[in-house]
């Protein structure tokens, strides 16, 4: 398959960032690093997390194999215009809380089907203050709320990130691009088909307890009790999820022991994520098998330049090669039947990390906290604070 990809790319004049390329990495990590992801562009990828690129004000969404063939053949796609869904997020994220906790809260609030048929625009002062990497984490998980695309209006944070990157415009073209990009904001009087408001100041470090990203709750809470469900469907949903996850109703989330920790993926495999995990790794030693998988060769190199790999290795974390790895149980990187993993990835679906595996989605610092305690743990208690 790899050889075919290489020969076909050569034949058709595509630039391939292949397996031995020094800039190889995950589809949603590499193009932003290279300056290929630009505001106002239309991007599609044969992967549902293509929504990540919306962090730059690009309209970006995942497509299947037939649609990919159609794009390669005709440079076009047949699409129905999605509804517009504005999610406004204001307030200051509390100590110990990250963009990952924020988007898990959004998904818990609107549901895994909350944005089906919509393209999301995230706005508000919390969003405006996020770094590009944090914005990518938010937009990345739009699809976990059912939204094929999720985007943020381009601003100075985007321009500062893009300037000087390999494929970014230069000179006079940069000025023209900035002029265009600056115009890509929603009008004040713009009407949306659906709206939601989220208070960032009420976010706590989140973990998922079930088998859908909407099964997310603050680490300080307990697993739900099916008896409290308001409908028959909800009761069945909670029962099935708890049964698969081998958890009891009303179990405190910070008492759940894990077998494995995974830090990486297109959601949380960037340099800021690794820095956050390393800060916590410094506080102890891994009690369970812990993998750190950078999102790209570039991230790996940068982390090594900063000495992060030493921090991880000193704490007994495994420093591995870039790729999707355990997020989707690919190329043999998978959990054994029944194993439980604290994971910075994006999907806690049944069997996502290997047949019979159990996944708890968390932020990078929460994952590192789970690594050094062997439990899902409130990272704020380790870091001292609230």
């Amino acid at each position: 398959m790899i050889e075919l990809q290489e020969s076909k790319s050569r034949e058709h004049g595509f630039r391939l960032f292949g397996i031995n390329d020094p800039q190889q990495g995950i589809l949603h990590v590499v193009p932003p690093e290279l300056g290929l992801t630009q505001p106002g562009s239309l991007m599609v990828g044969a992967d549902s997390h293509t929504s990540t690129h919306g962090a730059f004000g690009a309209l970006a969404f995942g497509i299947g194999a037939s649609e990919t063939r159609h794009v390669l053949t005709t440079q076009t796609l047949w699409q129905r215009r999605p509804g517009n869904f504005r999610i406004r997020i204001d307030g200051t994220l509390p100590f110990g809380c990250t963009a990952k906790d924020l988007i898990l809260k959004v998904i818990a609030q609107i549901g895994a089907a909350g944005a089906v048929g919509y393209a999301i625009e995230y706005c508000g002062d919390t969003i405006n203050r996020l770094s590009m990497e944090e914005r990518m984490t938010v937009c990345n998980m739009s699809i976990e709320a059912g939204g094929r695309a999720g985007m943020i209006a381009p601003d100075q944070t985007v321009f500062d990130y893009l300037i000087g990157r390999q494929f970014s415009p230069e000179g006079a073209l940069w000025d023209r691009a900035i002029e265009h990009w600056s115009s890509l904001t929603s009008d004040d009087e713009a009407r949306f088909d659906k709206e939601a408001v989220v208070d960032a100041s009420s976010v706590a470090p989140m973990v998922t307890w079930g088998t859908s990203p909407e099964h997310a709750a603050p680490i300080t809470e307990t697993t739900p009790d099916p008896a409290d469900a308001s409908t028959r469907e909800q009761k069945a949903d909670v029962e099935a999820a708890l049964a698969y996850m081998d958890l009891a109703p009303g179990q405190p989330l910070d008492t759940i022991a894990v077998d494995h920790v995974f830090i990486g993926s297109c959601t949380n495999g960037r340099i800021e994520d690794l820095r956050a995990a390393a800060e916590v790794a410094k506080l102890g030693q891994a009690r369970v098998t812990t993998w750190v998988v950078p999102g790209s060769q570039t991230v790996k190199q940068q982390a090594e330049n900063e000495g992060l790999h030493r921090v991880f290795e000193d704490a007994g974390f495994q420093w591995r090669d870039p790729g999707c790895s355990l997020c989707t149980a690919i190329n043999g990187d998978e959990l054994a039947q029944g194993q439980r993993c604290a994971s910075t990835s994006n999907r806690n679906f049944r069997g996502r990390q290997g047949k019979g595996s159990r996944t708890h989605l968390v932020s990078p610092s929460m994952a590192a906290a789970a690594a050094i305690t062997g439990n899902l743990t409130d990272v704020r208690n380790l870091k001292g604070g609230a």
């Binding site: 630039r15 630009q38 649609e67 089906v116 859908s212 949903d237 069997g351 996502r352």
Partner: protein, 210 residues
Amino acid sequence: MDAFTSLKAVAVPFDERNLDTNQLCPTRFNKIPVSDPDYQRILFNNQRFAEDGSEHSDFILNQTPYRNSGILVADENFGCGSSRESAVYALLAFGIRCVIAPSFGDIFFSNATKNGLLPVQLSADTCDALRQLLHDSPGREMAIDLEQQTVTGPDGSRHQFDLHATLKYRLLNGLDDVGVTRQYSQSILDFEREHHAAMPWLFTQSETAK
């Protein structure tokens, strides 16, 4: 792709909300070619089969009345998650030609229509009622008429569904998108010329940086 006109087949109920494409096709099967004679075994593989390949007898598709299912009646957000088209191929390989649900994952919906798998959207209440009927008398048939845009339930109840006229036309005629799009070649070229002039930075850098 195969045209879809009408279908009368055994219908199988799946009550789970947010049934994701990882269940329809676990990741490890993504690289299996569709031509594989055992392709249908990919569908719900983790739940249908034990390690040794034997069937889990309690899984619904392993129960006698449902082995020949051609229609699947689901709940909200069916096919959410990964964009893998193998989820659609696996359903088709098993013999499912139509999925009925209150809503679908957007990418799954597109993938289905490109392969002659008909996604039918009916209200949550209607889907609930249909699934209940199917649970009450396993192995009952349902019917789909795409021309009339109707679903006939196991109790003979008729339900009208919406489908975009373009999609309907292509499904009814088994038309390939690429062939249709090629009729617009000149418009596409015109657009590309304008786009190139309006946003030259998208092109010059990528050309010189090779």
